[in-house]
Subunit: 344 residues, 2 copies
């Protein structure tokens, strides 16, 4: 597998490394309500609860693997990233675990709650203009002036390998999965997953899921070359990133299918997460619940879903669930997501 | 231990029985956010996720154990209970598992969502007046006329033994728990728990938790005899029941302490469940989160919490979390909880 940035042995090393530093396997939960209401006979649906990691998202795995893989001299320089979401928290957490400084570039307008969480883990915050250029410039400045080591959220071999540990744990619990649904943002999770399942369970059907409003991977697969969505816009804020240069070739080769889901379907997924799984499910994670619901899987199928995270502002979430917060759901995209839209 | 309705061997039998019929051990999750913000050094907090059973509550254990313990000739008569909550769902589920009929007496005004769930599991619904007398009369009628076997929600040895399996699983995962916090409604869960921990981990501190507005167990312990709360009223709808004749003596002997929590504290607990545990936490379950937050546990303590369930009407819940639904939180108690208040 030298054709790609990582192979399965990298995932195995990552798994041992993050376990050593406190990341316990997350539970696997049955979506029995869906099994019953689907009408599909003998369906088994297993949900890998990445919302139950210490930071509430799978991102802890890649960031911790990357930070723990640094040499001593690299580590002394500290790490940096730009993020307004789970990856920023994950890098802060990982740096604290290693006992090194971290700086997270946060675009103006990011949620105070998320900034508090990043600060809680001891990282320094640097505010920047809420544009992709502003973020990259601020990060480049930290690298140049303070010697910080940048930790890319997905296009980074140690991050991809770390994210691959989700599927590795999942297959320990449910070795005979027939289908696996995985959200695609920048492709870190699904590329690590693909490397793992193609070694351990090659015949499994691997399905990537994107929001219709941020389907750059689907476009890229059709075009045969990485192709941006012209104006990404979705509630699933973790999935707006542009598929990576390292992750895309893995997806091209090993992902069987990329499905898209609508915003309405994502909202349904959030609701099912609440009512049927009793798990707090962020919109990015709800995409896989929505995708399964529209996929005609055969009788007797054993289906896995990676529920990627449960970090969502509670007040926004209350509105999201009830459809009762027009400021959140009804405002024009430019007002809603100025920061994240600039991300690609 | 013949002094009580059950002993530890009953719990062991119950555990084997419910496992055989599909109840897998629920996960144990760390409340790391609280460990960090508590200021208590080396605190470890383990949460037993009973919201992740098939019906979203621990009640499945006792009901399934009771229904599976019936003789063939009893089972042929079918079972019945009265409930507007998780026990009704649990009995319906258990009867379906055994393949026998079930009838659930539901007071007028019960939530349509809960009635749907009971119907989903194939039980027949019988509506009654929303008073304790109406419920008991309707149930007695079913027993008399149809020969149905009544399954009491807590004052029933097989139910108590089934609920004791939660602690039994918990101690397999975390054998050296120092403290355990358990909600008290009718006392089925805490009595089964007490029987289990006094055998397996006798030195552990067992803390019962009641809402201030339904502290009949605390009153009963003070009086030395079962004593009702004059007008039980709390968001924690699962905890309004009156402590049982079989469960109370176990509590008297083996529970170290009964704490109460206010409605405000319960609401905080629901919020922490959402934001810090990423679990849907019904108010009755949130009581233990609230209780830990006000208890000065020592440095290094290993604390267990039984998070009893995650069934809560999503729209009520959204209002509960935001404090933005005066119809739910601000109405006079008589308007809010006419049905449940009549329960005892």
């Amino acid at each position: 597998m030298a054709e790609f940035a990582i192979d399965y042995s990298d995932v195995q090393c990552a798994r041992a490394r993050i376990r050593r530093h406190g990341v316990e396997p997350t539970p696997v939960h049955r979506w029995s309500a869906f099994e019953e209401r689907s009408g599909i006979r003998d369906l088994q649906v297993y949900v890998k609860c990445e919302n139950l990691t210490a930071i509430g998202a799978f991102k802890i795995r890649g960031a911790l693997n990357a930070v723990m893989s640094l040499t001593e001299s690299e580590a002394r320089c500290g790490v940096a990233t730009h993020s307004s979401g789970n990856h920023g928290t994950a890098v802060a957490y990982a740096a604290r675990t290693r006992g090194i400084p971290a700086t997270v570039v946060v675009p103006a307008g990011a949620s105070p709650q998320k900034m508090d969480l990043i600060r809680h883990y001891g990282a320094e915050l640097v505010m920047c203009e809420p544009t992709q250029e502003g973020r990259e410039e601020a990060l480049a400045g930290l690298v140049r002036e303070q010697g910080r080591v940048p930790i890319h959220p997905y296009d980074h071999p140690a991050v991809m390998a770390g994210q691959g540990t989700v599927a590795d744990e999942f297959l320990d619990c449910v070795p005979d999965l027939d289908w696996l649904f995985v959200p695609i943002g920048g492709g870190g999770l699904i590329s690590g997953t693909a490397v793992t399942v193609r070694t351990r369970r090659p015949q499994m059907r691997l399905v990537g899921v994107e929001p219709e409003g941020a389907n750059d991977t689907q476009r890229s697969l059709e075009a045969g070359v990485r192709t941006k969505h012209p104006a990404p816009n979705t509630l699933a804020d973790g999935l707006r990133a542009f598929v990576g240069a390292l992750t895309f070739p893995v997806i091209q080769k090993w992902v069987d299918q990329v499905l898209t889901v609508t915003e309405e379907e994502i909202r349904n997924g959030v609701r099912w997460g609440f009512e049927e799984l009793r798990l707090v499910t962020e919109p990015s994670a709800a995409t896989v619940l929505a995708a399964l619901a529209k996929t005609p899987v055969p009788d007797g199928a054993r289906v896995g879903l990676i529920l990627t995270g449960g970090n969502v502002d509670p007040d926004l979430w209350a509105g999201l669930r009830k459809g009762a917060n027009p400021g959140f759901l009804g405002a024009p995209p430019s007002a809603r997501w100025p920061v994240q839209r600039a991300e690609r």
